[in-house]
């Protein structure tokens, strides 16, 4: 077995746990949705585009965001639902830019289909805005090389994987995910770092994402 590169800086796994805060704000139609999307805190945009990833992480490899789900399932606007679901979240490096894209998508649709402004949910079907309060904690797991890293990756919580892949990139605006960042800068394996960064994590379940990254690293250190 080839000797593995020892990291210049060890990787400490963090975990991210979240609490859901209610805002008391709710949308009962597309016009109201757009108005609220423009004013709610960034934590709301983050929550509604990422909730499915954790709550239904075993369920679907293509978790829809809450806006897409509500527009399609509750308002019955299939086409707009598809447009919102297909927003490529991985392309956005800030919550602000993601918010703008969601708003633009709905406004564009309302220009094309003004009758959609008259779609309302049945009573109780409003979209309730919530936001995510993240608590970030260091775990005791630290790796100094890729072997140690992959061994920890296999058993760490999905919350930890979630933090390093999703939250670090978008909410903390680090530009890339933490795994790729460490592998490139501390291990020096630019190719592996890039191939992990190139994954679209939004189309995996969390367990599939764990398996995929684990397999990529194991191929590298075999």
């Amino acid at each position: 077995m080839a000797e593995l590169a020892r990291a210049a800086e060890p990787f400490r796994f963090y975990t991210r746990l979240h609490l859901t805060e209610l805002t008391g704000l709710k949308a009962a139609g597309l016009v109201q949705l757009v108005r609220l999307l423009k004013s709610v805190p960034g934590g709301c945009i983050y929550y509604h585009t990422h909730r499915f990833l954790q709550q239904h992480q075993y369920l679907s490899p293509e978790p829809p965001n809450d806006f897409a789900y509500w527009v399609r399932e509750i308002l019955g606007e299939e086409e707009l639902g598809e447009r919102l679901a297909s927003i490529d979240i991985i392309q956005y490096s800030t919550i602000r830019s993601l918010r703008e894209k969601i708003i633009a998508t709905i406004e564009e649709y309302l220009d094309e289909h003004p009758e959609a402004k008259m779609r309302f949910p049945r009573e109780g079907g409003e979209l309730h805005f919530k936001k995510s309060v993240s608590f970030i904690l260091p775990t005791e797991h630290v790796s100094y090389d890729l072997r140690e890293f992959v061994d920890i990756l296999k058993r760490i919580t999905i919350d930890s994987i979630y933090f390093h892949i999703f939250e670090a990139k978008l909410r903390l605006e680090k530009g890339t995910n933490d795994f790729s960042n460490w592998i490139e800068n501390s291990i020096g394996d630019k190719t592996l770092a890039l191939s992990i960064a190139r994954l679209d994590p939004y189309v995996y379940t969390m367990e599939d994402l764990r398996r995929t990254i684990t397999a990529m690293i194991e191929r590298e250190i075999r």
């Binding site: 805060e21 008391g24 608590f135 904690l137």
Partner: protein, 403 residues
């Protein structure tokens, strides 16, 4: 009583590790829970399980119960029904009775601690004793359409808390305090939910004289109008027109629910001595409830209003196909056509029950999905985590908290 590490085989080692990590940040904080009953009902059941586990995690947690007479609990039951949107006649006298008992509790109860965690409206007035400590009001009730008179009365107290906690997003209102969404949970290691040998299940059926000759449709609930037991009997009769089956309606009563006996009598009358309808009073016997759920072919929860409806998660955890009303916290547990079937009427419920009875493979798959959904979202370990994060949030106003 289960220890925290006993949950590792169910939720994985890392989930329990996380709980221990968070708990470290709450060492030294004294937390007092207050509710209105030590036994019966979902709140007491959850506290009975959670308090020892929080203590094992190193938190200094106490639990106290307010005192109240029959008059007081009759009024709080009226409040409960009014908050659920029911038509209830509440007089000034009722408010006086409520305040009189509240004043006695204010005098009698010792509320020292760093965090005071008040459950439901009965002890809500205690917040008048607040000092420089933190106060949380935990509402377990469906507040989607509360009657204004009671809501306005309670709101005066709610706004004096630091935070309020609700079980479903639709229950939140516009309030000047922080509001959090925390679903309740079930304990997979409790007598109500742990695995049972077949002979125990058969023994309980035998005890209650329920033969295993036909599919069994079950609703486990207190005898309470909001659980719609008469609607359940209506549903059963619609199903039975086409498929021979039995109905089990089983439940007890809580000490803070004076209406239970009356509803029970109405249910007995509606059953008309039908030998296929089994109405069982199973008071505080969790093991028997567990056995009855496991013996069931389909489980119903046809509530008209529901704070959360933990019996749904209990059934899903046992991989049972569930038909439940689309009210309160139920749609959080049942994602329609994925982890169960949602309904709006006895006719809709009957149609869904027939689908499950005639398509056992579909029923099995839905039941399995339901179990995984509960494992991920509605077990006590998630609840412990949320409560600890809630306590921490009282000391952090920001959206991203580094611990």
């Amino acid at each position: 009583m289960a220890k925290i590490d006993d949950y590792i085989p169910i939720v994985g080692e890392s989930v329990v590790e996380d709980l221990k990590l968070i708990a470290v940040h709450l060492r030294g904080k004294r937390i007092l829970n207050v509710n209105s009953t030590a036994v019966g009902g979902g709140v007491a059941e959850i506290l009975n399980r959670m308090v020892p586990l929080l203590r094992e995690l190193g938190l200094d947690v106490r639990w106290d119960v307010i005192k109240g007479g029959k008059d007081f609990f009759e009024v709080t039951k009226k409040f409960h029904n009014a908050l659920h949107g029911g038509r209830v006649d509440i007089s000034e006298k009722d408010f006086e009775i409520f305040m009189e008992t509240s004043r006695s509790n204010l005098e009698a109860m010792e509320t020292s601690g760093d965090i005071i965690f008040i459950h439901d409206p009965q002890p809500i007035v205690l917040v008048r004793k607040r000092g420089d400590n933190k106060w949380i009001w935990r509402c377990h009730i469906d507040l989607s359409e509360p009657k204004k008179k009671v809501w306005r009365f309670l709101k005066e107290f709610i706004v004096q808390y630091d935070a309020a906690v609700f079980s479903a997003p639709a229950f939140s209102r516009t309030l000047p305090i922080r509001q959090f969404l925390i679903a309740p949970s079930i304990d997979p290691l409790s007598d109500k939910n742990r695995e049972l040998p077949q002979e125990v299940i058969d023994g309980v059926l035998h005890k209650y004289g329920v033969p295993k000759d036909k599919p069994i449709i079950t609703q486990i609930s207190r005898f309470d109008r909001l659980k719609d037991p008469l609607g359940v009997i209506g549903t059963f009769r619609l199903v039975k027109k086409h498929i021979d089956c039995r109905l089990l309606l089983a439940g007890g009563t809580a000490t803070d629910d004076p209406e239970g006996q009356k509803v029970f009598e109405e249910v007995m009358e509606a059953a008309h001595g039908d030998p296929d309808i089994h109405i069982l009073v199973v008071s505080q016997n969790d093991l028997e409830i567990n056995a009855l759920q496991r013996a069931s072919t389909v489980i119903l929860q046809k509530s008209l209003k529901e704070g959360f409806g933990l019996t749904v998660s209990e059934a899903l955890w046992k991989s049972k196909p569930v038909v439940a009303s689309n009210v309160g916290g139920i749609p959080l547990q049942v994602k329609n056509r994925y982890s169960g079937l949602l309904c709006y009427s006895p006719e809709g419920a009957a149609f869904a029950v027939k689908q499950f009875l005639t398509s056992p493979d579909y029923a099995r798959q839905i039941g399995e999905n339901g179990r995984e959904h509960v494992r991920n979202n509605f077990l006590i370990t998630r609840h412990l985590r949320d409560y600890m994060l809630l306590f921490l949030s009282l000391y952090h106003k920001e959206n991203i908290v580094y611990l």
